[in-house]
């Protein structure tokens, strides 16, 4: 076992892990942050997406030990008290989720994407979401949510 120390949602956290434990195991099992979901467990679906030092990564495809010293943001880290993050609010308003399983990953991916590309085209949003799968919505309202969030975050709506 080894001790891993990292900053999760602004708080320093430590946990004992096996070398083969994945970052998603650390988050869900050790830190009880179960908002990060495991969909495929094979690097395909994006449900486990979190930010690692600001970059969207699939936490099922990274060992916890590799995140030693890193800053990790999960879906739990976005809302400020009762106020949803603009991306979460946009999903709420545009009906961007049905079962909600894919949503945390979608939101975390969009968090990085919209920071780098605050005024994307619909096509760019669809391309950015290519590593995130949704079995329910048909993506239409997820794309609408992304564009809505982009407008809010630019101060236009």
């Amino acid at each position: 076992m080894r001790q891993v120390t990292l900053t999760v949602n602004g708080r320093r956290r430590s946990a004992e892990v096996e070398d083969r434990d994945l970052l998603v195991d650390l988050l869900r099992e050790k830190l009880r942050l179960t908002g990060t979901h495991i969909g495929c467990d094979t690097s395909q679906c994006g449900a486990c997406t979190v930010l690692l030092n600001g970059a969207a990564v699939k936490s099922c495809s990274l060992f916890a030990a590799q995140a030693e010293g890193a800053k990790v943001t999960t879906i739990e880290g976005l809302a400020k008290g009762d106020t949803l993050h603009p991306i979460q609010q946009a999903f709420h308003e545009e009906h961007g989720l049905q079962c909600g399983f894919c949503t945390p990953g979608m939101v975390m991916l969009l968090h990085e994407f919209l920071r780098r590309n605050p005024d994307p085209t619909e096509h760019e949003v669809r391309a950015a979401l290519s590593g995130n799968m949704c079995r329910c919505t048909g993506y239409q309202n997820i794309v609408a949510s992304a564009l809505h969030a982009a407008r809010t975050m630019r101060g236009e709506a």
Binding site: D19, A55, F63, G131
Partner: protein, 290 residues
């Protein structure tokens, strides 16, 4: 899915990484972005006893201009940092075009160009671009440091000339000649985005529109990425017309070995190789100003 147990090492220097590789020769693997290795470990297709992480070595995380106007890309450079690099955009826009087509954003945030080359997945995109750009691959950790030309690097599916303790430290892309146009086109597997067939083409023309240099490389079609030398030879010295390009493309599969899998038969891949070679050459010629 839980990988077999192993010991994780996070060396602080490249020298330490090589020492670990030598100490555990035969039982160790380096991990860089982990985007090929970790999924394979989870499936227990690979079960190293020691995992040596070179992905956190600051000394390998760079993209820089070389003295001779080319680009040097360190083993730590992710696809995303290459996508955003002005140096690569200036030296080899085709490489930017290629890495943008790899997987998805999350994979590109972790995966590295050197990792893709070392892994030598027959369906990977980067090998085609490296071949068509005449890249050289620099290593350390073997009996001596080596710099290997891309066309000598890829041996077979998942096999390169790298030895068991050798680390690929840097890929160099030489400055391309004036009036060179290039592109990378792929027919992607719709689910994984890997190449069923991908073709990288770079053509250089003189002022009269005669092709003075052609580099064409094909990935996905066979067990390893290869140059389409028959097409290259046909074009060099000829006026770069649509007819010449069509004739060159019809020679693309000469001497090439094709694979068959659930995504397509050998005949299908051979057909795609010709079609994509023609399209890539037309676009490269347009970009060269023909």
């Amino acid at each position: 899915m839980i990988p077999a147990a192993f010991t994780y090492h996070a060396p602080r220097t490249l020298g330490d990484a090589v020492r670990l590789l030598r100490a555990y020769e035969g039982e160790a693997r380096v991990v860089s972005g982990g985007m090929s290795l970790i999924p394979a470990m989870k499936l227990r297709l690979v079960q190293p006893e020691h995992l040596i992480d070179i992905g956190r070595l600051g000394e390998l995380d760079y993209v820089r201009r070389t003295e001779d106007g080319g680009a040097a890309i360190g083993a730590g450079a992710t696809y995303r940092s290459i996508e955003r690099s002005r140096t690569v955009a200036a030296v080899a826009p085709m490489l930017v075009e290629t890495v943008r087509q790899v997987g998805d954003l999350q994979v590109r945030n972790r995966g590295t160009l050197c990792g893709s080359a070392a892994h030598a997945d027959p369906a990977a995109d980067a090998p085609a671009a490296l071949l068509a750009l005449d890249a050289t691959l620099h290593t350390t950790g073997g009996p001596s440091r080596r710099s290997i030309q891309a066309r000598r690097f890829f041996v077979d599916a998942y096999e390169t000339v790298l030895g068991p303790t050798e680390v690929l430290t840097e890929i160099r892309i030489p400055k391309q000649p004036a009036r060179t146009g290039s592109t990378y086109l792929k027919f992607a597997n719709k689910a994984s985005r890997f190449a069923i067939v991908g073709v990288a083409a770079a053509v250089t023309v003189d002022r009269g529109g005669v092709c003075t240099r052609a580099r064409i490389a094909v990935t996905g079609a066979g067990p390893r990425a290869v140059r389409a030398t028959a097409s290259e030879r046909y074009l060099e010295g000829r006026q770069l017309s649509a007819e010449a390009i069509a004739a060159a493309a019809s020679r693309a599969s000469r001497g090439m070995e094709f694979i068959e899998d659930v995504h397509g038969s050998e005949e299908y891949r051979e057909h795609l190789t010709g079609v994509l070679t023609q399209r890539a050459l037309m676009e490269a010629a347009r970009r060269a100003g023909v």
